[in-house]
């Protein structure tokens, strides 16, 4: 018990130290886990013997991850992906396998072994790729989606590969007898060695029925039984029971799938897809997510810990050579496929470099190959090292991609397209037509105001042109471009570019050179607003202020305030903000050099909030006071006063008439 706890502690501490460090250096969590593994494994020898066992547990993280991925994918989306899934995925596996096998043949490896190696190395690491893409926000890019299609195909392809590998074995009678049996047993990615559970020794007909039955169970449970079950559990109000239910679902499906010899990851993925439209989708996600993270982390640590320094040092040249060759071969195949499938620009590089490593399935297949005598023990030891090394190198490839290739690509696509010749000069120049500038542009255009639209993102300009909005590619922060855009004759310049620093700089430059031009600028927040005003912008609009004010009004109305009263409160709020704006800005500008917020600014801000409370109260006051403003009737009793006055006046008149 103590030993287990000690090991668990070592694993956790390693992760806690290394992962944030890796993240801080922009290396991604995967590399952090891998290094943590190396540190506690081969480097210090704190852990080691249990790595393989742990790996089997940790691979369950992949199963959970695919369940989560499935949840994100509605069935119709999956259907839309079908051509990529089969075409791109199929050709990737086939192409990589062929190229790697061929290369192995050149080095006079036995053909059967060569084919096995090719198939094993053709697979990539779902865990690394999906985790990294999620972290870098690439999941929804073209490159991310293409990568996902390929990974999904690979997960499916594991099953036929497992079935096929035994045919490559040296024909020994006992192995042949074991073929089907072993294949089914190993099919679980988690590599559970429980032959007794397998139904695969059943006659083929019944086995087929069992497979269909299992898949049907997943779909039926997901489709029809899950919602009432989740409702029932949710009603209990016990969060942990819901988590238990979600885990039970995933574990149950995994067990069912490995029982009939299918990949648990594939099974849970299917369940995820079935549940993608469920009302409990987000609840499920948030409950399962932490398990995924921890298990995947554990998995990466075990990969790191599994690296054997003696094997590595003894075969350093060979291992590095093979690893680089594998990565290069896979990248080449992916690059060619990206051309065929018209994946362009930075997406092409995302696809090419993301999937160039060998994956966790490699460990499973290597163990299986050893068991069925396709590969020798020495080979498996070395090849497993290659798999680990290639996984180790992947985060580095991501860094290369992110830091070197992508910026270059972006520049290249922007440069490829030469800055447009501006043939029509508008009355208003709009710099930046993202979500903000676009609306400004549309209002102006709708009123027949001619605009010249500039944006430095070629893709956006393309998109705008597709919807018939005339726009030009170019960097608006360059004065020469503004000059050709006709700033000398323009009435207004609207600055709505996303980069704050550049926006401020642009305003400054323009105001220095064209002091009479009215400059309108979009601000992100209060500080940005002050800076833009300080830079000389004539009109600054905080992008969120008015919509937030609007929503505040909606909130008041939803709370039962009369809509007109809500409107008045909003206006009073706005009024106080406006009145206090100059003072706050002056203070902010004068103390800008200070770190954080200055004490005086804090004080002013508190004062502002106090004034706001007062302003709101004014309207809510019930008593008639001079402070109260707007639509207040004269006080009660005023009528009598008037009548008395009038009586006096009449008396007076009467008397004077006498």
């Amino acid at each position: 018990m103590t030993a287990y706890l000690g090991q668990a502690f070592v694993y956790l501490v390693a992760a806690v130290i290394m992962v944030p460090l890796a993240k801080r250096f922009g290396l991604g969590s995967v590399l952090g886990y891998l290094v943590a593994g190396v540190v506690i494994g081969p480097l210090t020898g704190l852990v080691g013997a249990e790595t393989e066992t742990l790996q089997h547990v940790a691979e369950f993280g992949v199963v959970i991850m695919l369940f989560l991925v499935g949840l994100e994918l509605q069935p119709q989306m999956l259907w839309q992906m079908r051509s990529k899934l089969i075409g791109l995925g199929g050709m990737q596996v086939a192409g990589s396998a062929l190229l790697i096998s061929g290369t192995a043949l050149l080095f006079s490896v036995d053909w059967r072994m060569a084919v096995a190696i090719g198939l094993i190395f053709a697979l990539s690491s779902t865990a690394i790729v999906l985790q990294s893409h999620g972290e870098k926000g690439w999941s929804h890019t073209e490159g991310g989606r293409s990568s996902f299609s390929v990974l999904l195909f690979q997960d499916i392809a594991v099953i036929p590969i497992l079935a096929f590998l035994p045919f490559l074995a040296m024909p020994e009678p006992d192995v042949v007898a074991d073929l089907v049996h072993g294949g089914a047993e190993m099919a679980g990615t988690a590599g559970e060695h429980h032959a007794d559970d397998s139904l695969a020794d059943l006659p083929p007909m019944i086995y087929g029925l069992a497979v269909i039955g299992a898949i049907s169970i997943v779909i039926i449970v997901g489709q029809f039984l899950s919602t009432p079950l989740f409702r029932f559990v949710a009603k209990s109000g016990l969060r942990e029971v819901f988590t238990a239910t979600a885990l039970a679902l995933v574990v149950g499906i995994s067990a069912l799938m490995s029982m009939v010899g299918l990949s648990p990851a594939l099974g849970t993925f299917l369940a995820g897809v079935v549940l993608a439209n469920s009302e409990f989708r987000h609840e499920l996600e948030s409950n399962i997510e932490p398990f995924k993270g921890l298990l995947l982390g554990l998995f990466f640590i075990t990969v790191g810990a599994g690296i054997s320094f003696t094997v590595l040092v003894d075969n350093l040249g060979f291992l590095i050579g093979v690893t680089v060759a594998v990565i290069f071969a896979k990248a080449l195949v992916l690059y060619l496929l990206s051309i065929v499938f018209k994946v362009r620009g930075s997406d092409r590089w995302i696809l090419t470099l993301s999937l160039a490593q060998a994956g966790e399935f490699g460990f499973v297949l290597l163990a299986f190959s050893l068991q069925i005598n396709v590969l020798t023990a020495e080979m498996v030891e070395l090849l497993a090292m290659v798999v680990a090394l290639s996984m180790f190198l992947t985060p580095l490839l991501f860094i290369l991609l992110e830091k070197v290739l992508m910026p270059k690509m972006e520049k290249a696509t922007n440069e490829q397209q030469e800055e447009d010749v501006i043939d029509e000069k508008g009355q208003v120049i709009i710099a930046g037509v993202g979500r903000f500038g676009q609306i400004v542009n549309r209002l102006l255009l709708a009123n027949g105001v001619s605009t010249t639209v500039l944006d430095h993102e070629a893709q956006r300009v393309d998109l705008l042109r597709q919807i018939c909005i005339k726009s030009y590619f170019g960097d608006a922060t360059r004065l020469e471009l503004l000059h050709t855009a006709g700033i000398d004759e323009a009435s207004l310049l609207v600055v709505a570019i996303d980069d704050r620093e550049r926006a401020i700089h642009l305003v400054q430059e323009v105001k220095r050179n064209y002091p009479n031009l009215t400059v309108l600028a979009r601000a992100f927040d209060r500080g940005d607003e002050y800076q833009l005003e300080h830079a000389g912008a004539d009109i600054v609009v905080k992008e969120t202020y008015h919509s937030a004010l609007y929503m505040g009004g909606e909130a008041l109305k939803a709370l039962g305030y009369h809509p007109f009263q809500a409107e008045n409160l909003k206006q009073a709020f706005n009024q106080v903000e406006l009145e206090n704006h100059p003072e706050l800005r002056a203070d902010w500008i004068s103390t800008k050099h200070e770190k954080g917020i200055s004490a005086s600014y804090k004080e002013l801000f508190i004062k502002l909030d106090g004034a706001l409370v007062q302003a709101m109260k004014k309207d809510r006051s019930d008593t008639h006071s001079h402070e109260e403003r707007g639509w207040t009737p004269p006080p009660a009793g005023y009528d009598d006063l008037l009548e008395a006055q009038q009586a006096d006046d009449t008396d007076g008149t009467a008397r004077s008439g006498q």
């Binding site: 008639h624 001079h626 707007g630 004269p634």
Partner: protein, 204 residues
């Protein structure tokens, strides 16, 4: 005695205005007239009460200038009355800020003068229709002057009546600011438009 005029102009569709806008521009040229375009200053109808009250205090004559909409002022002028003429400021206890100031409506009406008669299709005379404003001035202790009005305003420009009206308007404003306007005589009239020159003395 020099008098300062506060001209509160309310026209919600100025891009269509043929008469009021020229009148407003003509008024701007005269010293001592503070011209306030209410729809420009408060496009959201959110009237700054303090600012408006301060303006009132620093002027001697208040003029509402507007096209007649449904026998009354455009909405923002009503809003202005509702908010600015507060109890305790313009009327009621302590509400004597406007005591003794003059109040004048300068307006345009689409219908002909004939239409604004008991026999006409509008049935009421203009001075009758303006009675709520008259009582407003009375309640605030202001001297109410008969309206300076232009009838048949939709065809005034085409019929060459505009220039004459603008000239009269400028003479009136000038005379008021320079203290050459006979308030006692003016108050007895039903309209300022016709006999305007009888109310103005040439020199001070």
């Amino acid at each position: 005695m020099k008098r300062k005029i506060l001209l509160l102009f309310a026209h919600p569709s100025q891009h269509r205005s043929e008469v009021n806008l020229p009148l407003y521009k003509a008024a701007k040229k005269i010293d001592g007239v503070t011209c306030v375009d209410l729809y420009r200053e408060y496009p959201d109808y959110c009237i700054n009460i303090d600012r408006e009250q301060k303006r009132l205090l620093s002027h001697d004559i208040v003029i509402f200038m507007f096209p007649l909409y449904w026998y009354s002022t455009p909405a923002i002028l009503k809003e202005w009355q509702d908010l600015v003429l507060e109890y305790g400021f313009a009327y009621g206890q302590g509400g004597d800020a406007l005591q003794g100031k003059w109040f004048l409506n300068a307006l345009t009406a689409g219908g002909s003068e004939q239409a604004y008669k008991a026999e006409g299709y509008n049935h009421f005379r203009l001075d009758e229709l303006l009675q709520p404003l008259q009582q407003m001035a009375d309640a605030c202790g202001m001297r109410y002057l008969p309206p300076f009005a232009l009838f048949g305003s939709r065809t005034a420009a085409a019929e060459q009546r505009l220039k004459q009206h603008v000239d009269a308007w400028q003479r009136l404003l000038l005379a008021m600011t320079e203290g050459r306007f006979d308030i006692e005589k003016g108050c007895k009239m039903r309209s300022l438009t016709e006999q305007i020159d009888q109310l103005i003395s040439e020199a001070i």
